[in-house]
């Protein structure tokens, strides 16, 4: 465990060293939020209503979505692992007494933690300011549980894309395409409840909704605990299934690995 703790701390230090990325991400995600805010404001000013969402509800949805995106966009696991396999860098870890997936998880957690230190106070401030009447510690706790679940699912998907390099040689396209699919079906771009029924049905069969949509529903505090519990269980089953699949893909991939790039 100690070795992963050191990797985690190193990742944390690296993230704090390159502070420019933090401020830049606040700027560009803030800009993106402003554009979305204007889109919805202009619709509601014109008398339109987006489904069951009030204007403030929709705005809050995007604040939460941006917060989640700020957290998970710190590391591109698929790209990093893909590069390591393609350039042969993975060989160092194959002979070391270390789990490859745990090492990358520790790195990724370091990045997330650094981002949490910066963005969580801002998020909590907004949360308390906007949802003062509905601010509830139990909801907050369940929100962070679902956030962790969503983060883990996103991580394993990225990991799977990365280790696909064993089979495809170069996964830049797969990584890009997967990111777009995640972006859409996680509810990052538009709440899944607003999508046409066809897309909603597809989204309900996929694990991406646990990344943004479910945490958002939880913090909006208008879903029963029974339903949340059911959703979290399904998410957990997805996570376990993805982890097993990743293990099989990794094992099969290692048999094909030829140390190219060494």
């Amino acid at each position: 465990m100690k070795k992963y703790w050191i990797i985690f701390k190193n990742s944390l230090q690296i993230n704090f060293t390159y502070r420019f990325n933090f401020f830049a991400s606040i700027f560009y995600e803030g800009l993106s939020l402003v554009v979305f805010a204007y889109i919805w404001l202009s619709i509601y000013r014109g008398g339109g209503v987006m489904g069951d969402y009030t204007l403030s509800g929709l705005m809050f949805y995007y604040v939460v979505a941006v917060f989640i995106r700020l957290l998970i966009s710190g590391t591109d696991v698929g790209w990093t692992i893909g590069d390591e396999i393609r350039e042969g860098g993975i060989s160092i870890y194959l002979v070391a007494p270390i789990s490859y997936i745990k090492m990358h998880l520790a790195k990724s957690l370091g990045s997330i933690f650094a981002r949490l230190v910066v963005f969580l106070p801002i998020f909590l401030y907004i949360l308390f300011f906007v949802k003062k009447d509905k601010f509830n510690f139990l909801v907050m706790f369940v929100f962070f549980v679902s956030l962790s679940l969503g983060y883990m699912i996103n991580f394993v998907i990225g990991y799977l894309v990365g280790i696909s390099t064993f089979y495809f040689g170069f996964v830049m396209g797969l990584n890009f395409t997967t990111q777009k699919i995640v972006q859409f079906f996680s509810g990052m771009m538009v709440p899944l409840g607003l999508l046409p029924l066809f897309w909603q049905k597809i989204a309900s069969f996929l694990p991406f909704r646990f990344i943004v949509y479910l945490p958002n529903r939880i913090i909006a505090n208008n879903t029963s605990y029974l339903e949340i519990g059911k959703e979290l269980m399904i998410g957990l089953i997805w996570l376990i299934g993805l982890l097993i699949f990743a293990k099989l893909v990794h094992k099969g991939g290692l048999k094909r690995f030829e140390g190219e790039g060494l």
């Binding site: 990325n21 800009l31 000013r45 987006m50 040689g169 396209g173």
Partner: protein
């Protein structure tokens, strides 16, 4: 001039050759680009599921704005890779090699890399345009006149976006780090994807028409195509493109003086 054109063509060919080393990856990239575009169109679909007009724009008109933005975006990726060559060469120190070449540095840095898979953007956006223009009810004569002016404004828009990216990416001379800088440029330019009429506060609209001329990237070309020629807007567009191109060139040269050849 023909030497520059040949170099640019050679770089485009190189870009395609690099991508085709992994043909499956190239085709998956094309699918990814198409998906990215589709998401935006579905987003518009969602909006028009609940409202009939979007800040005064009908569905077809809004689609023309988005398609216009995507044409510019597609051109920027396909021809100069959103100036990815600039940040990469600054970060790796390879700019040293380019500086001593007997060619304009800004030019070679700009055309250094290209993303041929983004031609999918161009094809899809032009198709969307062709599907939606007939819904505008324009006569053939109007279509030719509006269309010609639209092309002129789109050329201006290309240079405006190029200039914005050149200025933003020149910040790399100070920061060296590339990805965040790219995201800043991308998000600024992406703000022009939807009609600028959504920015109903006058001050915001003035900023997006002058300081960061987002209005001239997609909304104004689309307006000209839909509603007919406006000489004042056409002149403004050309002037803004020229001013931005000049200022960005000066800023690039200013940044270049700060280049410290890190990592070389």
């Amino acid at each position: 001039m023909s030497r520059y054109f040949n170099i640019w063509l050679r770089q485009l060919k190189n870009g395609l050759s690099i991508r085709m080393i992994h043909p499956i990856n190239f085709f998956v990239m094309c699918i990814g680009v198409f998906l990215e575009m589709s998401i935006t169109f579905i987003f518009l679909q969602v909006i028009f599921k609940f409202v009939n007009n979007f800040s005064g724009w009908s569905h077809s008109e809004a689609m023309i704005v988005v398609a216009s933005y995507m044409i510019i975006e597609g051109l920027m990726w396909t021809t100069v890779s959103m100036l990815g060559g600039l940040s990469r060469n600054v970060r790796t120190g390879f700019l040293d090699v380019l500086l001593v070449k007997p060619i304009n540095t800004q030019f070679i840095v700009s055309v250094w890399s290209s993303d041929p898979e983004d031609s999918v953007r161009l094809i899809t956006a032009i198709s969307i345009l062709f599907f939606n223009v007939p819904n505008l009810g324009l006569s053939n004569f109007q279509l030719v006149i509006n269309g010609l002016l639209y092309v002129v404004l789109m050329v201006d828009a290309y240079f405006i976006v190029y200039s914005i990216f050149l200025m933003v990416k020149s910040i790399n001379f100070w920061t060296v780090q590339g990805w965040s800088i790219h995201m800043i440029g991308e998000k600024i330019v992406q703000s022009s994807m939807y009609p600028v009429d959504i920015f109903f506060h006058k001050i915001v609209r003035v900023v997006f028409s002058t300081i960061i001329p987002l209005a001239f990237i997609a909304t104004i070309p689309a307006k000209i195509l839909i509603h007919g020629p406006r000489l004042d807007l056409a002149i403004y567009s050309i002037l803004i493109a020229l001013i931005f191109f000049y200022v960005s060139h000066k800023f690039f040269l200013f940044g270049l003086k700060r280049y410290e050849s890190a990592s070389s």
